[in-house]
Symmetry: C2
Subunit: 299 residues, 2 copies
Amino acid sequence: MAGQAIKIELNAVIVAVAGSDPQILIDPSLALPSGPFETGHRTLEQGLRNWAKSKSDQPLGYVEQLYTFADRDRTTGSQRVVSIGYLALVRATPTTEMIWSPWYRHFPWEDHRKGVPPVIAKTIMPGLNAWKAAAPDAAAKRDRAQRITVAFPKDMRHWNEELVLQRYELLWEAGLADETMKGGKAKSAGLGVAMAHDHRRIVATAMARLRAKIKYRPVVFELMPDAFTLLQLQTTVEALAGLRLHKQNFRRLIEGQGLVEETGAMTTGAAGRPAQLFAFRREVFAERAAIGTKLPRSS
Amino acid sequence: MAGQAIKIELNAVIVAVAGSDPQILIDPSLALPSGPFETGHRTLEQGLRNWAKSKSDQPLGYVEQLYTFADRDRTTGSQRVVSIGYLALVRATPTTEMIWSPWYRHFPWEDHRKGVPPVIAKTIMPGLNAWKAAAPDAAAKRDRAQRITVAFPKDMRHWNEELVLQRYELLWEAGLADETMKGGKAKSAGLGVAMAHDHRRIVATAMARLRAKIKYRPVVFELMPDAFTLLQLQTTVEALAGLRLHKQNFRRLIEGQGLVEETGAMTTGAAGRPAQLFAFRREVFAERAAIGTKLPRSS
DNA sequence: CCCACTTATGCTCCTTTTGAGCATTATTAA
DNA sequence: TTAATAATGCTCAAAAGGAGCATAAGTGGG
């Protein structure tokens, strides 16, 4: 049984998008906002919301539980910490003590909007190949080779933007992303800015979840203002996915799904033809619970 | 801070499929197998695996963390319990003290393989409509109406088999699925066999997750024997999804994805033309990390 | 006012994927 | 031999997805 005391901690990955940068809220010591689990709350989520409102001044919008971590070799100190990770989406607002940190600062290899990031060829692949070569036996070597191919495919058309966590864990195992801090400064062999404890892993989990989710649930709108152009929407999705999208087809997709409605207003002042301003149609929740099935149903 | 003691408990929804019945492992008191979190383990999942191996004699195959629950009004007794739910898939084997319980016994409204279950029209809709009518104000009424329509659509072609949890919570809120036990026997207004504590909710979470997952990850194979016919595979998927599938298109889907390979052997003795026996191609993990994107990627 | 540039928006074409169902084949049971 | 039961092959049409051309409507600078 548990002789050791267990502490439960809530960690929140609070995401906002500013222009074309997804950002996460961290404190100056590169740690995620976190707090103890208060037994007074009715549910975990409620506890998180209350705590977030009191601590930062971010009232959380969309909230989703991510994962509960309790790895012994990842937590610091003597006390066993069980950390429950949450993903929260908010519309960006200024903060006091906290910092909005662009998430690609911590994951530079995940941003493929301007082509394949050079760090992959320059640092990551050599590092991973060395790690593969150092495998203890042939089976391990095959396994490592396979994981590398899946996470960082040779042909970048096969890049799967959802595999954020697998990639991070791969880099971590290969010793390319350890979170050792150098006097408060990030290290990590140049592979992005490290974070406190295992927080970068939690962020990776959040990124993966969010990148997957935007494809089948209209969660992006939680990050948008009330009225927005389709380009702004596309830019936000591109920012999250780390990919460029086809403009006309993106429009067709969004409009075809009836996710938005025209507000009647137009943009003004910017370069180019003025764009219509759209608003999210909240009714979609009522209409289409069915999102996408992949099974060949009959009858 | 936490003045109250917190206990961490692992709950496992262990699923197997026997013929055309998905089953979960429970004990005679209708509780999921569960055990305390031992601080000695390296990770939560490892703890679960060790515990499962010692307690039941099920060596767990595929394991996935589901959700961490800590609702105050759902836990019993004075001590606050945080329960971490897991989904595990195993190939059915006999058990000692535990019982394999068909999951549709607890969720009769979820099995649409033989048409819409009568319990929906007979009990559920009247109950939900009464609950809707009893809404305190107009806004709440609209909200309830909407949730009902999404979970139990008028037109059953819009039935979304993934919404297991939403449906269960709806029924629970409407008082149609409360877990009050009558002398160890199930009650619940005829709506399926109740379970201990909030375990039916955990099972609902597991069902929802599994139904979603079989669509984009080859997890069904964890439930299949080494060699199987495509019909057996289809039957298993249908059992999980609670839906009938189109046979030829199912075959096309599976073969087209290269998920299986012929073993060369055929079935014998059964009625009808003998079927080929197939085996899961484990190489698919190596080949196709990319499963399905829904974003209109460019370049 | 005209021109270069920029973004918005409409549409077409072609390829793939899905949905539905017909037809044929190979066994067992009567 | 016939009926019943499954397996398997194939076709056809509809829907969804990928790529790109063409046109419209602004801004900014001569």
